[in-house]
Symmetry: C2
Subunit: 197 residues, 2 copies
DNA sequence: CCCCGTCATTGACGTGAGTCAAGGTGGCGC
DNA sequence: GCGCCACCTTGACTCACGTCAATGACGGGG
């Protein structure tokens, strides 16, 4: 199954009929706010699962940020699998637990850090996830636009832009062509990311 | 098992040796930030579970906010239970999924709302949880101090205080003795809580 | 009963990030 | 190659919230 750029895979509130595994491309999860803005809950890369929280309805809308390919598991059939392979349920539980831990980190980030710390964190997170996917960790690719980054970090596009510029000027990063970022001084970023305020 | 006011039930990073069910009292979950501040991840009330994310280490420190009583399930024995009662694992998965959804709501709150909206949301959330526990929904009890509220909402104690005062002056709430709040105009609060910015 | 420690409130002030508003820049189709 | 459009960048200004600091209200212990 494939999803073209900009199309929804499922929408917030829809009955959760299936879960998916992303095999190629990038997908964002977000919630629409009443005023039209959106809160991006996360970005997913190949290997990640979508809709694995076993609730009745999807908690987010999932939208392809480029052309994506997915593996779809209808929920009924999946639950049948769970019955027969209890081990699988344990794995699933672990995955949801992991996701929970990640989201809680993100909470901490949103509540307590300033713009620079948020961006530093974000870049390092992307880098780590690229490495986990056995891609080069360094030139970090950002398939999403400034708006999505802003909505993910609780900032505005302007602030994201300004912050990236100031990190560029300050030395730790370099902006490359095609929405990529070279991390020139990872230690400096780590310091910002971990550090408070 | 009991935990007196101010004592830790478990600490962030410790091997997750057990999970707990809170039977009486109130417990907060938080992470310490390097600079000494804390991010409160949640408040737990009777009936809630602690440490149910099946990771190897606890993601938070759990501290009793008053004298609390807990039911402790050592992890080994619990996993034995899981083996024998697959249905239980499914229940557990559902609970973790719920928690995930809640935390994601909280993320949205932290990233995108102003102080008044956060407080309104917080009060309504407490009210709903009291109702879920079959206590009266209206005078909302707040067992935690201003500092904990602030650390939960990503604010400062001063801002929490000011915002409560302004809600009081504006009409929708009334501050009672003993850390309780009377909701006088729930609709007004709902409007703030749902509404954007 | 009063003192003192802890926590909440209130005020004055500074600042980081949001808002509003112009430019740039690159990609794509014609 | 040109123009259009979407997106990014930059600037000026504003304001909500944080910070620093003083005061006020409880509540428990001596």
């Amino acid at each position: 199954m494939t999803a073209a750029f900009g199309t929804d895979i499922f929408r917030e509130g829809e009955p959760a009929g299936a879960l998916y595994n992303l095999t190629a491309g990038t997908v964002k999860l977000y919630n629409m706010l009443p005023d039209g803005r959106q809160q991006v809950a996360g970005a997913l890369f190949p290997g990640d699962f979508l809709g694995l929280a076993m609730n009745d309805a999807y908690a987010h809308t999932a939208e392809a940020m480029d052309d994506a390919a997915l593996c779809r598991f209808p929920r009924g059939r999946f639950e049948g699998l769970l019955e027969r392979i209890p081990r699988l349920e344990y794995r699933l539980l672990a995955m949801v637990s992991n996701e929970l831990a990640q989201v809680q980190d993100q909470m901490l980030l949103l509540g307590r850090k300033n713009a620079t710390d948020k961006i530093a964190n974000f870049l390092l997170q992307l880098s780590r996830r690229q490495a986990a996917r056995r891609e080069p960790a360094n030139p970090v690719r950002m398939p999403m636009g400034r708006t999505d980054i802003a909505d993910y970090l609780g900032l505005t596009t302007e602030t994201v832009s300004r912050t990236l510029t100031s990190l560029k000027t300050g030395g730790p990063i370099r902006l490359l062509h095609g929405n990529s970022v070279e991390l020139r001084d990872r230690a400096a970023l780590e310091a910002r990311a971990g550090g408070g305020s």
